[in-house]
């Protein structure tokens, strides 16, 4: 990758939404909005609520469906992406739907020009009573196994933080053949409207994102890196500046995904790419040498150099 900064799923459309602001190939890569086999309308408004340093969303995984993506979006993206890696984010209402969609992605991979699959396990299993696939160890394994069996592309599993311990899920993903993990997805949250005395969101609860969740993502990135030092990690959660991105790299992520911050500042990804380059130049180092550096307790910590 040209740089370690990717645009996160659900905050970058299908790769076609930021073309007014910067060229696609200025990114290390991007992850599409979650795609299902069939299109989904999503939830009624209100779908978002502001929080301190963040926001709740309950979009409901609205998406155009795989066929429409291949026909309408993929040609533009393939033409514009240059060196940017294209990662397709997939989901389904049950483990077998994930596998079926993975088979379609594998079949259409050259048409789309995609480099990897990211598996969004943060959906309820509609067929088995709505339990969240990403929080149920058995369904989680079946989902990853099913996707792995259908594709030879790299598979990343996007992990939910809504569990007591994320590390066993990362271990399960690795055991089932995933090539890496993306962490973390949004945290459950709710806000209540004081005048209506009802939850703000139409679905009552939603997913919390934004700078408020940065320390949660850093924590789990560090824990997973410590437990599984060989497993590639894409760090996600609350990254709004190059400093936030660098924390994830130091905690052990090979790359980062920027999401909610780009809603507010469409140039956030570009500012992060530039900030990381300046940091590397100032410290005469490389991204590769920074990855996981916070774990090297045997080495002396650097003496801060204040260069403004």
């Amino acid at each position: 990758m040209a740089n370690p900064v990717l645009a996160a799923s659900g905050t970058f459309g299908y790769g076609d939404a930021f073309t007014d602001f910067f060229p696609l190939d200025a990114l290390g890569g991007f992850v599409t909005k979650t795609l299902f086999l069939a299109p989904r309308d999503g939830n009624p408004a209100p779908r978002i609520a502001e929080t301190s340093c963040g926001m709740l969303n309950s979009i409901g995984l609205a998406n155009i469906g795989w066929d429409a993506f291949v026909e309408q979006k993929a040609p533009l993206v393939r033409a514009a992406r240059g060196s940017a890696r294209t990662i397709v984010n997939i989901a389904g209402n049950a483990p077998d739907e994930y596998a079926a969609l993975a088979a379609r992605v594998e079949r259409d991979r050259d048409t789309v020009g995609c480099d990897a699959i990211e598996v969004n396990v943060s959906c309820p299993n509609v067929k088995e009573g709505g339990t969240n696939i990403g929080c149920d160890p058995d369904q989680f394994r079946r989902t990853v196994r099913g996707v792995r069996a259908e594709t030879s592309m790299p598979v990343f599993v996007k992990l939910s933080p809504n569990v007591a311990d994320v590390v066993p899920f990362a271990e399960s993903a690795a055991e089932e053949g995933a090539d890496g993990v993306s962490l973390v997805n949004t945290l459950y949250g709710m806000r209540i409207d004081l005048e209506r005395r009802r939850p703000v969101l139409g679905t009552r609860s939603g997913g919390l994102s934004g700078p408020a969740i940065l320390p949660v993502g850093i924590h789990w990135t560090f824990q997973v890196r410590a437990a599984l030092p060989e497993l590639p990690i894409m760090g996600i959660g609350g990254i709004a500046s190059w400093r936030d991105a660098l924390e994830y790299l130091l905690a052990g992520a090979q790359a980062v995904q920027v999401g909610t911050a780009a809603f507010v500042n469409p140039m956030a990804c570009m500012e992060i790419v530039a900030g990381l380059e300046r940091y590397c130049a100032r410290h005469r180092t490389t991204i590769e040498r920074l990855v996981g550096a916070a774990h090297r307790e045997g080495e002396p910590a650097l003496v801060p150099v204040w260069t403004g």
Binding site: T11, F12, G13, A17, F18, D20, F21, D41, G42, P44, A45, P46, R47, I48, A49, E50, T51, S52, C53, G54, M55, N57, I59, A62, G210, P211, A240, T260, A262, F263, V264, N265, P266, M267
Partner: protein, 260 residues
């Protein structure tokens, strides 16, 4: 084309209770059309506000972009309190503007802070169609909420009809009933902006009166303003799709396309 601008606040001017103009220097060469909007947020990280807020362009004059705001929540309250020269991020112009029409009478119906987009719309109509007649029907709950127009703004309209729910200024009653009395008059291009129940009521009156081609400026919560966050859904009358995104398909929409 939209861009992300960091602009210093040129000033805040109150024109009614809790209602004020937010002014910015217009960047050289930057253009926008009536009905388009900008996402406005603090340029520097702020403890209070996180998301930007969508505001229709209110007026473009004296080298400035102006937005008419009313304090309705934390976002608007914090914007009113900002000192001059505070840098703010403006992402825009975004969305679909009001479209040209061949009718020579323009009737704008404003409920409360829904007044905001009509200054710039009237200004552009004055420039581009100098012979046309422009009417403003403007309702508020009470007299102290009515925005005062300066001489330049007042000259944008050939007729201004004010009303209040409590009768303290202009006709007593809501602006929909007031404006709808003119339905039998000459054929007009109708424009409206205001609270959802007002727009729903006006849409029903216009449809019953056989009016087509009306243009309503709607509002919905947004995080981005350019089609990514998918928050600003408006139920669509003709399905599929079940929803339209207000930021891309609006904010100016044909009321006949909306499932009110």
């Amino acid at each position: 084309m939209p861009a992300s601008w960091t602009l210093p606040l040129a000033g805040v001017r109150e024109v009614a209770a809790e209602t004020f103009w937010l002014r910015f220097p217009r960047p050289a060469g930057a253009a926008c059309d009536p009905g388009q909007f900008f996402m406005i947020s603090p340029a520097l990280p702020s403890g209070g506000l996180f998301l930007g807020r969508p505001f229709s362009i209110g007026d473009v004059r004296d080298g400035e972009w102006r937005f008419l705001l009313r304090v309705l929540g934390r976002g608007t309250a914090s914007l009113r309190g900002l000192p001059e020269r505070t840098p703010l991020r403006l992402v825009g112009p975004l969305g679909r503007p009001f479209r040209p029409t061949d009718r020579g009478l323009h009737r704008m119906v404003a409920g409360g802070i829904g007044l905001a987009p009509f200054f710039y719309l009237a200004r552009r109509l004055r420039q581009e169609r100098p012979g046309d007649r422009i009417e403003l029907w403007y309702g508020e709950r009470t007299a102290t909420a009515h925005a005062e127009l300066d001489a330049d703004e007042a000259a944008l309209f050939d007729r201004v009809e004010r009303c209040t729910d409590d009768g303290t200024r202009g006709d007593r009653g809501d602006v929909v009933g007031s404006a709808a009395k003119s339905l039998g008059e000459a054929e007009a291009a109708w424009y409206a902006c205001g609270p959802h129940p007002m727009l729903r009521a006006l849409a029903a009156r216009l449809e019953a009166g056989g009016v087509t081609g009306a243009q309503f400026s709607l509002e919905e919560r947004m995080a981005c303003g350019f089609g990514v966050c998918q928050a600003c859904v408006v139920p669509s009358r003709r399905r599929p799709p079940a929803y339209r995104l207000l930021c891309l398909d609006g904010p100016v929409m044909d009321p006949l396309a909306v499932a009110w």
